[in-house]
């Protein structure tokens, strides 16, 4: 939606392996990764990013039992990708590459744009560490692997109105996933304290994008990489 006008988007091309959309109302072309209008009457406009998660169906269903799931379109099911599509695509060639940080073009990253900066985290490393405390532009952030060991969320690791809570460590309890070292409160995968002094407080979730290194780096030329300083 731009200026209150809903737009209907269609797949319309590709730009260095990130796809281009075209809206049927104005004929404007939009870049998928950025939501920016790159050509046409609305050039320069920006779609608003809606916070989204990439979760396992198991985790999503537990969190949103009243939610609705997009159904397969029967005539195209045979063309759908296998569930490990992004991993299989690691073998596909790329047309751009950035030989930096010892990263391969199709290494899967978790990219975060926050506080005016970009930072990328090697997905396998986050999955292995399960809880990552880091900083983006000086602000504390927390990356948390869910109880399914596959879903990941990123939070601004600052509790509104409470100073000094920036250290966290993982616990493995049915109702809680991590604990803060300042108050000992226990927190869940939604980033909310479920037990302790800070019970009821929630961390602000930050948008994160799972992307191949070449694509993330192409659109975030000043990105830094966790563990590669």
């Amino acid at each position: 939606m731009v200026n209150g006008v809903p737009l209907t988007f269609h797949l319309a091309g590709i730009n260095n392996q990130n796809f281009i959309m075209r809206d049927e109302e104005t004929g404007t072309y939009w870049q998928q990764i950025s939501g920016a209008a790159i050509s046409g009457p609305l050039k320069g406009a920006q779609l608003q990013l809606i916070l989204s998660d990439e979760l396992t169906f198991f985790t999503w269903k537990a969190e949103a039992p009243q939610g609705m799931v997009f159904n397969d379109v029967p005539e195209f099911v045979s063309d759908y990708a296998p569930k490990d599509w992004d991993v299989r695509m690691k073998k596909a060639p790329t047309v751009i590459s950035f030989n930096e940080h010892s990263l391969g073009a199709r290494d899967l990253m978790l990219g975060v744009q926050a506080f005016g900066a970009s930072r990328a985290f090697l997905l396998d490393r986050v999955l292995k560490e399960k809880l990552v405390v880091d900083r983006i532009a000086g602000e504390p952030v927390l990356l948390l692997v869910g109880p399914d060991y596959q879903s990941i969320r990123v939070f601004h690791a600052r509790v509104a109105g409470v100073n000094g809570v920036t250290g966290f460590y993982r616990i493995a309890e049915p109702a809680a996933l991590f604990m803060d070292d300042a108050t000992g409160s226990k927190w869940n995968f939604q980033g909310c304290a479920v037990e302790g002094k800070l019970q009821g407080k929630c961390l602000k979730q930050l948008p994160a994008l799972k992307d191949y290194w070449f694509d993330w780096r192409n659109y975030n030329p000043k990105t830094t990489v966790y563990g590669k300083e």
């Binding site: 939606m1 809903p6 737009l7 209907t8 988007f9 269609h10 797949l11 319309a12 091309g13 590709i14 730009n15 260095n16 392996q17 796809f19 281009i20 959309m21 004929g27 072309y29 998928q32 790159i38 050509s39 046409g40 779609l47 809606i50 916070l51 989204s52 998660d53 990439e54 979760l55 396992t56 169906f57 198991f58 999503w60 269903k61 969190e63 949103a64 039992p65 009243q66 939610g67 609705m68 799931v69 997009f70 159904n71 397969d72 379109v73 005539e75 195209f76 099911v77 063309d79 759908y80 990708a81 296998p82 569930k83 599509w85 992004d86 060639p93 047309v95 751009i96 399914d148 596959q150």
Partner: protein
């Protein structure tokens, strides 16, 4: 007579060239597994925006010129000029086809089910959003094929992309 032949030949050739460029250049530049330079992409997208108008105008112009001058062309030149007109008409039709949506079909009418009614493995990934207390999940298995889904969640128009 010779001037009429030359006029028709030049008009048809120009129309074929315009239609060919309008349809072919964006396809040439914006194709998978090819590096897209910033400037050529910008030009290709402008051409793509106007390809239907440009190729249709070229086809119409070629057809009118042929109708006006074909009697002066002789048999073989007339056949060749007619072939040029046919090519522009075919290109004008092709300009309306979205080849990307031929490769990855769009979703004409999206339908949704409750999680308990969906046959997805527990470890399958979904893109999840929540707006005004309405939660949606878009399975990556299908989104990596359709790429774009126009939806409405919690009263908000949403374009889910992957």
């Amino acid at each position: 007579m010779q001037r009429k032949r030359l006029t028709l030949t030049l008009i048809v050739l120009a129309c074929v060239a315009i239609a060919l460029f309008a349809v072919g250049y964006p396809i040439y530049v914006i194709r998978p597994f090819r590096h897209q330079g910033a400037q050529e992409l910008a030009v290709a997208l402008v051409v793509a925006r106007f390809r239907v108008i440009a190729s249709s105008a070229a086809a119409l112009t070629a057809a009118i010129a042929f109708y006006t001058y074909w009697r002066s062309m002789g048999l073989w030149r007339g056949v060749l000029a007619g072939l040029g007109v046919v090519i522009t008409v075919v290109l004008a039709y092709a300009s309306r086809v979205n080849i990307y949506e031929l490769m990855f079909h769009p979703v004409a009418r999206a339908s949704f089910s409750q999680p308990s009614d969906v046959k997805l493995d527990g470890d399958e990934k979904v893109i999840a959003i929540r707006i005004n207390d309405q939660a949606r999940a878009y399975p990556i298995r299908s989104m990596s094929y359709h790429h774009v889904l126009n939806d409405q969640v919690g009263g908000t128009p949403v374009a889910a992309t992957y």
